[in-house]
Amino acid sequence: MIPPAEVLAAVRTALRDEVLPHVGEDRARTALVAALGILGDVALQVREDDRWCADSASVLAAALGRCGVPGLGAPPGETPTAHRRRLLAAARRLLAGPPDTSCPDDLRGVRSALAHDLTLQQRRTRTTGGP
């Protein structure tokens, strides 16, 4: 939703417009202006790393398959990001509906696969949820 390159650009804008005008000390201004330049250049070079999506997708596909969900493979040309997204949508449909008592162990497997996905998400950030 907010890609890394876009958020870097937003950080640069906020520093330039909201912070820089309030920094009067020369050395601090110099460092901040250099940082603005670096952020502008680096934002052009950022590419999202989607390798983790392939890992998550394989675990999700296996778990959803045990629940009888069809069409879990990645067709040619589908990116790992798109494949994972499609599997998340399948998991959402499965879990949002009335509880399926016919395969409770398999639903546990889907939740376990989602927990694995969360672990991979968390490895990509430093945070545990606070502001």
Binding site: I2, L88, R111, R124, T125, T127, G129, P131
Partner: protein, 337 residues
């Protein structure tokens, strides 16, 4: 335009007229904080005799977080009703729905003294952990119980009572907001909503609910609580709504203490003693889970507002990047591991 932008002469003329204490001179104007939703400003005036008149202005911002849950008129009504009780709540003076002066609806309150700890900061955590071992611990629970004892009918809030079952309406609303806010599919949150539907509490209690009761919305004098602020989410509903938010993982990240103040069992014991009723653990678990899901939904809504350019507050982008940890908190409550 906001509180800081209105011409000083216009501010002086407006407050001189409204307060009727003679000509006022603007001596201080600063933002107390720029909240996630509203803007709060300190205004200090001097009368012709040199007397200080210190006020707080709370301005409603269209692009703020959780705008669908708040209403400036309702906020004002709750504050006015609560300030008429013995609760430590600032006196609210008037509401200006047209809000021409500051380009948005606002209301004006008296300024109360006190220290506002930031629970997420190391200094705030240290202060709260120490305060919780003293009088602030039982006060925190006792004030909440007192809020829940307010006679909301007598306070003129009867028209704000839920039309149907409070919890059912809350879950329906959450479900709709999740569907509107999710960018990529959110199976963990959808699972959370499903769990909530299967575990609706039947406490039967209907009280005043603060809606965002936590230590970040309190003022302290020494180690005593001197004021309860930020009533924008106040409503009439299930008191466990407040208990659940106090005990939610979001309010104790990296700490064993609820709201960084005191251990959960101590808090619940204090609350039970102050309210005279045992705590319903199933209802508590329901509302804790509700708030964890809702916290994620609020962050998704904020991220959507940022991505759409409706609000370029960097904190919203930061919140988006913290979502994996918040989703994990929901999964933990649902016992995924």
């Amino acid at each position: 335009m906001g509180i800081l932008d209105a011409p000083a002469a216009s501010v002086e003329a407006y407050f001189t007229h409204r307060l009727g204490r003679g000509r006022l001179r603007l001596a201080e104007r600063r933002l107390a904080s720029e909240g996630w939703s509203d803007e709060t400003g300190f205004l200090g005036f001097r009368t012709g005799a040199g007397e200080a008149v210190d006020l707080v202005v709370r301005r409603y911002r269209d692009g703020g977080v959780a705008r669908g849950e708040t209403d400036p008129e309702r906020h004002f009504r709750f504050l006015r009703a609560m300030s008429a009780t013995t609760l430590p709540v600032p006196e609210v003076l008037w509401s200006d729905a047209a809000g021409e002066l500051f380009d948005g609806p606002f209301f004006v309150m008296e300024r109360v003294s006190g220290f506002a700890p930031v629970p997420w900061s190391p200094e705030g955590r240290r202060f709260l952990a120490e305060a919780g071992t003293g009088p602030a611990g039982p006060e925190f629970a006792g004030i909440l119980a007192a809020i829940h004892r307010v006679d909301w009918r007598a306070a003129g809030l009867a028209d704000l009572a839920p039309a149907g079952d409070f919890a059912t309406e809350a879950v329906d609303g959450l479900d709709a907001r999740l569907a509107a806010a999710e960018d990529e599919p959110e199976p963990v949150l959808a699972d959370g909503v499903g769990w909530l539907r299967r575990h609706l509490p039947r406490t039967g209690a209907v009280t005043v609910v603060h809606g965002d009761y936590r230590t970040g919305n309190l003022l302290f004098e020494g180690h005593h609580i001197s004021a309860v602020l930020d009533w924008e989410f106040a409503r009439v509903g299930d008191p466990y709504y407040d208990l659940g938010w106090v005990c939610a993982p979001s309010n104790r990240i990296g700490s064993d203490l609820v709201c960084m103040l005191l251990p959960e069992e101590q808090f619940l014991d204090h609350y039970a003693a102050a309210s005279g009723a045992a705590v319903d653990r199933a209802a508590l678990r329901f509302w804790v889970t509700y708030h964890q899901v809702q916290h994620c939904v609020r962050w998704l809504e904020g991220a959507a507002a940022f991505a759409a350019g409706a609000n370029r507050d960097l904190r919203l982008a930061r919140a988006y990047y913290t979502l994996p940890g918040l989703r994990r908190a929901v999964a933990d409550l649902l016992e995924y591991a």
